[in-house]
Structure formats: structure tokens, C-alpha cells
Symmetry: C2
Subunit: 471 residues, 2 copies
Amino acid sequence: MSLNPADDRFAALLRSKLGDGVLRPVGERYLEEPRGRFSGRVGLLALPRNTDEVAELVKLSAQAQVPIVPYGGGTGLVGGQVMSAGPAPLVISLERMTAIRSVFPTENVLVAEAGAVLQDVQTAAEAVDRLFPLSLAAQGSCRIGGNLSTNAGGVNVLRYGNARDLCLGLEAVLPSGEIWHGLSRLRKDNTGYDLRNLLIGAEGTLGIITAASLKLFPRPAGVGTAVFQVASPEAAIDLLALARDKVGEGVSTFELIHRQGLDFLTEVLPDVRQPFASPPEWSVLIELGLADGQSPFAALEELFVRAEELGQVQDGVIAQSEAQRADLWTVRERIPEANRLIGSVSSHDISIPISRIPDFICEGRELIAGLGPFRINCFGHLGDGNLHYNVFPPKGQHRSEFDDQRGAIKQTVHDLVYAFDGSVSAEHGVGRLKTNDLERYGDPAKLGAMRAIKLALDPQGIMNPGAVLKG
Amino acid sequence: MSLNPADDRFAALLRSKLGDGVLRPVGERYLEEPRGRFSGRVGLLALPRNTDEVAELVKLSAQAQVPIVPYGGGTGLVGGQVMSAGPAPLVISLERMTAIRSVFPTENVLVAEAGAVLQDVQTAAEAVDRLFPLSLAAQGSCRIGGNLSTNAGGVNVLRYGNARDLCLGLEAVLPSGEIWHGLSRLRKDNTGYDLRNLLIGAEGTLGIITAASLKLFPRPAGVGTAVFQVASPEAAIDLLALARDKVGEGVSTFELIHRQGLDFLTEVLPDVRQPFASPPEWSVLIELGLADGQSPFAALEELFVRAEELGQVQDGVIAQSEAQRADLWTVRERIPEANRLIGSVSSHDISIPISRIPDFICEGRELIAGLGPFRINCFGHLGDGNLHYNVFPPKGQHRSEFDDQRGAIKQTVHDLVYAFDGSVSAEHGVGRLKTNDLERYGDPAKLGAMRAIKLALDPQGIMNPGAVLKG
């Protein structure tokens, strides 16, 4: 299907139908993405104020066969938000649709427009003494519509699930321009196919999410945080099982940290206060959120004592104040920043069945060593089996010296992930960065079904062309 | 698309390709369903032994344009498992594919074939000290493939979610006969559209689930059960909030019971031991499952004391032994049996946003009273907003005397549900019973998308024709 650019004539059409208030000059930020791998083409930028305007924009684009890029906070890491080839698109940014439409504390439900910034959703939940648990580094600027479109993950997935698991209903504009009014607040509704989960994670290729009803949770009465030094990744996995035996769903966060990340902090962010005098090979950040009458501090102490008896942990720091808690989190949260300052040759957002992670780490280390003297920082959401596996140049050398090896590293890591029944996109999505990987590693029957669904719902191919599925 | 019957010629073709072992005589039970509303047509019955045989059967049916009815345990309540119009179908029953293929205790994952009986899946989880929490009345005969195809609910949804929430991956045969190998054990995998959730709840109209990887959970160290008399449905909802404030996710079950159900037990099942000498207007069955070191009995006692201070509860029984626990559960579990013995004029499986349930109950009572002197038994999974709302004849009269009012009652209840933003199929599905309701109450944009997806994945319309979407 041939598409037409969002040009001056199309702009005039949009103005004639929607007035002057919706189109804006296309600022640089709409043409860039955080990793600098893709740059967008200058088309038109629309900032609709409500769902009807989104629907009108989509309808007119469908009639004119103009491609659309739905735009959230622009924080995605796989290029889903910038169309770098083909006719210049209409970028539809949801940034003016930021309302928290309603809150139902008794039902643990909040309805937000797609442009609401994640942190504002969290704050609105806190205002009624509830928790909206989606939490990730970009929460100050990413928007909930983007979080849902990419099925975002973050540090609380272990307990509360991905963005998908936190959504009860959607309002969305389908590629035809029709509005789906699906803002259900129901926990159970078996009336027909699961369109909600089809749009979640479709990265804007099947429609534009305009609002969502979201699940809230009771706020844990007490929260406790610790960093434990563990003997190995195996020991970390055993420790997680022990913790869940002791406090059940109370384990909110379980993050693996490798010495390499701590060394990077020492190297480029020396102000970050580290928990141990000498950085351990492996450690975990663990957070418990417990209900009324239970002491997270005591639970962490008991856990440490028992885990030490079992040889799982060697040393540990349990936060005794909010300030200490913040310090422990700072270590985990600033590792990605240290990574960026060092500059990786290749970064991977992978997941592996959790019992196979230790073997994966060993084999990965050997294979990468075979390619050169690279440094590996392997860290992340161990509780979910999701690791960030980033490969860096040797100390004193720059990533640019290894540009020609990036492809080999990526393929080595991804092939290994595939051999371990893992995923090459655990939480970031496919975007435009991983469309080849999807074709290489994806199941052919599933890919065929995906293509059939895309063609059925978006026969002209106007919704975010080139993302997820190659054009 | 015109379809052909599964006749002798087709049987001969199947035998020539698959041998003699797969086809069986069509027993009565494949042509009936529990409520006796639909009866199937006699076509052919195939009992494949493995996924390749399922794929071969589907491929041959697609070539011959023969309709297929996928068959699990046959316990569905909406006629999804019997095709009562059109050419006689090929029934493909998964009952010979019952293997628990593998168990990964460290990962909290179990892989079962679709024909595994739900109770056998629960038992396999227990054998490795884990919990598979899907639990419902038919668990001794329903099969996990059917549970997933209908997105079954049950008594533990409040804590653990629907069948959908308990599934990590699927193996399925698509309508083309292709096998999708999607038995992921990953908690996070953002590679492409969510085909898993599309097949879950599609009631066999988009493919045949042949195996599933399922989530297991730590078994709560201690379980406590109580029945509390509550002042009203409002008080029950407040009590639930109080309980969740106290024990967080520890609340596994929260079931509303109305006096009508207890009166029915007294009337037709007098051996059932009831918790209160005089049946209260409203009561709730509450179950807590707590981790190591916490006492569910003490937690229930504390909850009762606090709730009594707040005026939410008037009386209560906390089980002090396994035998007492079983007695309390028996009351809840035998109410559906009492309902069947009394014989309802019309039964409804509905969900309502939880904060609106008290008003719904009041308005429903008034509207039904306007139709006649009916008795209403409204009970069920209050914690999920899912009520079974069943309307019975006056005492001493038989349901058959009110056949001509069934339509009016059904429409009155469903219209009210719709006005309260609820669902007319909370956990049972659409099947063939509610296709008209889906068209009447469904969102037109969603229905359009559903039809497009069905046509894209099953262009010949061979998969369970007439279920979910009208032919």
C-alpha cells in the first residue's frame, strides 16, 4: 500500500477540519530518540485536546493514506516513536490529554488520559492512599499511553506485573478512526476477544490508546529495603525463593547487581555512596512491602540470618531510615547512567527462564571473552528473569573503536538467549530496532498471525509503519 | 462461506491420513451441555494423541471446509462446546492429551497439555509444594485447555486473577493448521502482539490450545477461613477494604452470601451444616492465606473485632479446625446445587464496578418485584465484582410456569447491568447463549475489530462457528 507524506496540502485539510489549534511546528525532540540510533522525518505534528480530535485526525489520515506516528513521552529505547524511512508522517502527540478523569478508591481504579505522565498517575493514586505500582527510570517524563503501548516493565513487576497487568480497560482510536469505548472498571469480563491486550504492547501499530482504566493497590503499611551480598546468581535465585516462602507476595523488588556496575559508579559517578567498602562480585537489592503489623526490618533481618546459615549471603546492609533506603536505591538507579557515561558497545534487554540464568551468565561470559577483552555489566530484574546485559569496551578505550564488532556481539548474545528459550526484548519492545530479530527468532505461525491481524485492523498500513513488523 | 458436514467421506479421509486410532463413535455427552439449552449435531469425534495430530485434523478440515468444535471437559455453561446449527462438525476432544509435560519449581512454572483435568494440574503443583490457584466447582472434570479458552474465573480470582492471569505461554493449532510454539516460561516478553491473550477467552473460535505454561505460586503457610454476618452489601465492601489494609494480598477469597441461598439449602439440602442458627440477610465467606510466621486465625479475630467496632459485622464464625473450614466452604459450594434443585427461571453471571454493587442490588430487587413475586439469590465473588444473580419462582411453584417471563427477566437484568457499566458475562463466556447480548451491549468498534480478526485468522470460518460471534 503506498502512503502519502503529511505535507502542506494535508496540513491545510487538517486545519480546515480541526481549526488552527491542533497543528504545531515539529520540534527537534519529536524527531529524536534517547539512544540516537534513529532520526525522524519532518512531517506534521498534531496535539489533539480530546479523543474526538484524535479520531478525526486518524480518519482524515486514513482517507488521505498518510502515515501516523503516535507519540507519548518519547522515552522509548527501540525507536518506536520515530519513523525514519518512508513518507513524512503525521506525529500525533497525546501530551495535551493529561487528565486524571476519575478515581475510584473503593474499587482500586483510576482512569487517566493517555498523555498523563506516569509520575502524575502515581501521585494521584497516593492522594487517595493507594499505590499505582508501575515504576521505572523515565517516570518523570514517560506517559501512561506509551507505557501501555509498549507494555512497560520496571522494578515492581515481580509483585505487581507489567503495564499489561495493571490495566483494566482502554479507550482507543482504531486505524479506521472509530473510537473503542472500553474503559471498563471490571475485574472480570468475558465478553469477546481481548482487544485490550492486543493494543497493549502493539507499540501504536494497531491504534492509538487515548485513555486507560488502571488498577490501584493498597499501599504497603511498611516498606523495607536491603542490599545483600550473594555468593552467585544461583544463590540469589535461592534467596528469592526463601524470601517468598517467608513473606509471600511481600517481595516487591529483587534486583541483581554485578560488581561491574559498582566499578562503573566508582569510575564515573564517585559521589554515589556504595553499601560495601569493597564491591562484591554479586549482590541483590531487595525490597519488601508488608501489611499492617508486620515489620519489614525484622523480616529482612530474619531473612538475612536464615540465608547466611544456608550460605546464600555473606554480607548485607538493611536500611534503617528513609535516607538509607534512598541511598540503596540510588546505587541501583544510577547504574544505567554510569553505563551511558562509559558507553556500551552493545546493550541487550533480555529475559531468560529464571532457573537457567546462572548457566546463561557463564556461557555468555565465555562467548563474549572469545570476541575480545570486553567488560560485561549484567544486572537487573532477576525476580522476573529480565536482565540488562550490556557489553562495554576495555577500560581506557571508547565504544567507537568497536563499531565493527557490534553486530557480532549482538548476534552472539541474541543467539544464546534464543538457545536458552529466552526473549531478546523483555520490556523495551520491538520498535524499529528489533524488527529483524523478531523475524529471525520469532515463531513463524505467530508472525503470520500478527501480519494477518495488522492487515485486518489497519489495511492501509497507516499506523506507525515500520514498527514491530517490517513494512 | 459455505461449510460441509463431517460425513462418512470425510471420516474415510481422516482415517486414511491418521490411521484408525483417532476417530471414535460420538457419545451422547459430546452432544449435550450442563444446562440442557443446546444439543449438538452428530458429526465425527476425533481424539488426537498429540499436537501433530491436532494440526493434521485442522489442516484436513480447512481443506475440506468442515467445521470444528474444540472440546475440553464439556462443563461450560454457555453452549460453547455444542454446535446446534449448521453442518455436523468434527468434534476434536483433547481428552487424550493429559500430560503434565514438565514442572519447574524454581521458576514457579508448570507445562500441561490442554486435556489435563484442572484438579490434576492442582495436584501436580502440590507435589512440588506449589499452588496452582485456579479453583472452581467443575475442577474434577473441566480441562485446562477449556479453562483457558473460556478464561475461567472461580473463587481465587481476587488474589490470583483469572485463567488469563495464570498463563505464561501457549502451544496452539491455528485455523490454518499451523502450530504456534509459544510455551514461554518468561515473565516478561515484549516481542510482538499478544497472541496468547487473544486465544485465551476466544472460546475455540481462533484456534485450538494444545498445551500451556502456567504460573505456580508459593503455598500460603497458613490458611484461615471465616463467615461473618454483615449489615449490608456496603458493609461487606468496607470489610473487604479493611481486610486488605490489614493483610494486603493475603485475602484469597471474599464471597457474598444472601439469606435466600441459605434458605434454599434448608429447603432442599437440609444436611448441610450452616454457620448461624438463624440465616442472616447477608454474610461473607472470607479466606486468608498468609506466609510463614503469621497466624490467619489471629488475623481473622483482629479483623472481626475491628469490623465490629466499625459496625460492619454483627456475628461471625472463624474455623478452628480443618473440619470446620470444610463445613464453611460446603455452605458456599453447595448453594449452586441448591439453586439447581429449586430451579431458576433465569440465571445471570454478571459483574459490576464494585462500588456500585449496593445500588445495583437495590434497583434490581425493585425491578424484579415489578415483574412478579420472584425470589432472588444474589451471591458470589464480591471481591471481583462478580455476582451470580439468579431469579427463582415463588415457593411452591415450578420454573416451567414462568417460561414466558424468562425473556423479560433476562432483559431487565442485563439492561440494568449495562446501565451500571457492568458485564453480562463475567466469567462464563459468550458461547452460543449470549451472542445476541454481545451484539446488543457490545461496543460497535470492538465488535468490528473482533469480526475483522476472526476473518483474518479463520477466513473459512471453520473454528467453532456460531460461538462468540454470530455466523
